[in-house]
Symmetry: C2
Subunit: 455 residues, 2 copies
Amino acid sequence: MVANPVRDLAEFVGIASVSASARHAADVAVAAHWLAARLRRAGLPSVSVVATPRHPVVLAAWRRAPGRPTVLVYGHYDVQPVDPAVAWRSPPFATVVRGDRIYGRGTSDDKGQLLCHVLAIERLLRERGRLPVNVVCLFEGEEEIGSPNLSDLLDRYRDKLAADVAVCSDTRMLAPCRPALTYSLRGSIGLELAVYGPATDLHSGTYGGAVHNPLQALCELIASLHHDDGRVAVPGFYAGMRPVSEAERARLGHGDADLLRAAGSVLPWGLDGVSLYERTTAWPALTINGLTGGYQGTGGKSVIPARARAKFSARLVLDQDPALVTKAIAHHIATHTPPTVRSRLDVLSATAAVGLNRSGPGIVAAAAAYRHGFGAAPVFLRSGGTIPAVTLFQQVLGLDTVLLGFGLPDDGTHAPNESFHLPTFRRGIATAARFLDEVAGLPSDWSSAYERRVD
Amino acid sequence: MVANPVRDLAEFVGIASVSASARHAADVAVAAHWLAARLRRAGLPSVSVVATPRHPVVLAAWRRAPGRPTVLVYGHYDVQPVDPAVAWRSPPFATVVRGDRIYGRGTSDDKGQLLCHVLAIERLLRERGRLPVNVVCLFEGEEEIGSPNLSDLLDRYRDKLAADVAVCSDTRMLAPCRPALTYSLRGSIGLELAVYGPATDLHSGTYGGAVHNPLQALCELIASLHHDDGRVAVPGFYAGMRPVSEAERARLGHGDADLLRAAGSVLPWGLDGVSLYERTTAWPALTINGLTGGYQGTGGKSVIPARARAKFSARLVLDQDPALVTKAIAHHIATHTPPTVRSRLDVLSATAAVGLNRSGPGIVAAAAAYRHGFGAAPVFLRSGGTIPAVTLFQQVLGLDTVLLGFGLPDDGTHAPNESFHLPTFRRGIATAARFLDEVAGLPSDWSSAYERRVD
């Protein structure tokens, strides 16, 4: 049987593994078991589905190359919610190929990129009957909700996961055949704010003007989070951040027009005198992710609701402490909540930013693999996103991750009509296979050459 | 067959006639035809369902008392949306009796109060074979969306609707057996604000800090509508309002504690130095009624959405011009929308405030009817709510309306678990019947005694 990557991806994306939604908990479990079965079919001898307090982790290992390095392959099989569902041109969990792209939730983030590694391993095992290095796979189902159970799992399976380098494909290249190695990720704090007013919903004619409306109070609280010039107004929000060096700033200074074009925005916004790339990768940010309250149907409703809610998140940079920033935000909310309403802030997730070595042998292997797969050397990039596992691998396992991304800027990750570029998918499989070969060819004392810090 | 008011109300409430929702358009039509059939069964000879551009109006007439006055009975058979649906203890469209209350959407506002008149007419026709005065009924299906087609209909059916006084039961009493005659209603402008940012939803990690988030921009716009002290910050918002006289202020100065208790609020909010009753009835207010945008499910989603929306409404007082206030709000929104996003303001409805004569014969008849039905004389009340028909009857037909309310402060109109007090329902039927008798007993030149203005 010849492997068919597009069919594999269509099957995988067809399982609605939305980790944030309790309604989809069974789908997340189905996706874990689909992936485990696919790993067994790829020829991996030791595959297990490990339960966590919420969604399972899929582990697999091939350790038949004694003396050779071990690569920890990480990816996530959970996906973002599809909201707004009406904005999808084709059903999010029934893939459709249009032109050279395959559409569906998770095609790029991260089922397609994860499959590059699974299919690369399968190809090597079929062609050679063995892998060039030892491989252990860890695929989780909670990345999109901040990997709340990963730290415990890493601790519990520390021996089983022992490796020399980790590799993860969940980041982006610059463009087709313009590969990029991401060397820093922002951290993230996920937050939910609820504002409570009257005991029940009220008629806004009868009570309008006499009670503080939770919708209004929520907007006032949210508005208090930023100064007019785009700076975050929360005292302590920027505390601890590592200044951007002039040398790095020079490298971060380009591409405002590209970023705006990709965003479909006409004008930039935010910190003055700082390039957009620097704003989104080297500075913390605070973004509102959702507002809910009162009447949301067609037409109007004369109501003052009993409560209103907002979801928002902070993106953190090196060397900020998520606990301190969370505390600063909570203090700001508490002191800005007027006595006429009550507020409650819940922390959904918290991950520190991470910086990765840019000169270690893992990077050398990745660069060579990209040249093989895409015919071009990679550039180094910072990313504004967060992959909690990369932070935790460094914190818990002392392991740096090679971010061998196969995403493209117009994949629409986290948005409706997410897609994956099929030529990049095929090249990604070749690159992932070559990466293992390149790691096998590294000098035997390479892992000790790692340093931790980014300049 | 003996009439059973509770069974009638249960049937009527069982039809989900939510006028704001396109999904319920057929239910609104069903409710109109149910009501027309019920009017025929009550013995009214001339009943018709008149189409409008949206929801129909039910007309009925009994004009067999030549030389006697004519009473125009108004009510509305449409209801507010049920949102939030999860907050209902029993299904909103399947009535349940608990204690001395019947629960369901529209039980009080306005199906129950409307039925008081229908059942009163039926009782008089059964007992006497005739009515003491001429009666024409106008029951509409668009009150909860601002009666957008009522003005045209009044103009078209001006002759058919000719009457000496209108009566409407869609307001509240102070407490059981403490009747009240409402003599002023606030006006209302229904508005919807949309804020547009990037072309599509964006990953908040990748773009957070570089593009203006529509959710944040919406909150900033909403927050700009009020000063910190509760005054509306829109220039021109208070323009044209009739000052509250010292004499009336003295009457409006009481009841802060009652209003807060009914609202389930601990602290008042709004204009300093003005009683809550005055704030909600003699001053304009601006209330946010709904917020929608981004991710609203469980957990988090790392998204900057392409747009965000808010519903809000202005309540107006005498002698404010809704067109001028709308213009003032639109100007404020336009000038406060930063160049980094676009905004759009839609006007859903607009109704001027109305003041009613407090000493005309219609009021005398109503006071006598209340004494008969409830054993107590009514007090005069201002209401903070809006009934567009009352404004339009004055503007188009030159007719004042007697607001013979049977609602109670804890009916929960517009809120989940709306209910109607059954003893008040029965007394309301007796009061509505007596009102027709009292009008019949008035001196024949009474209607010329009306003056329009409130002090």
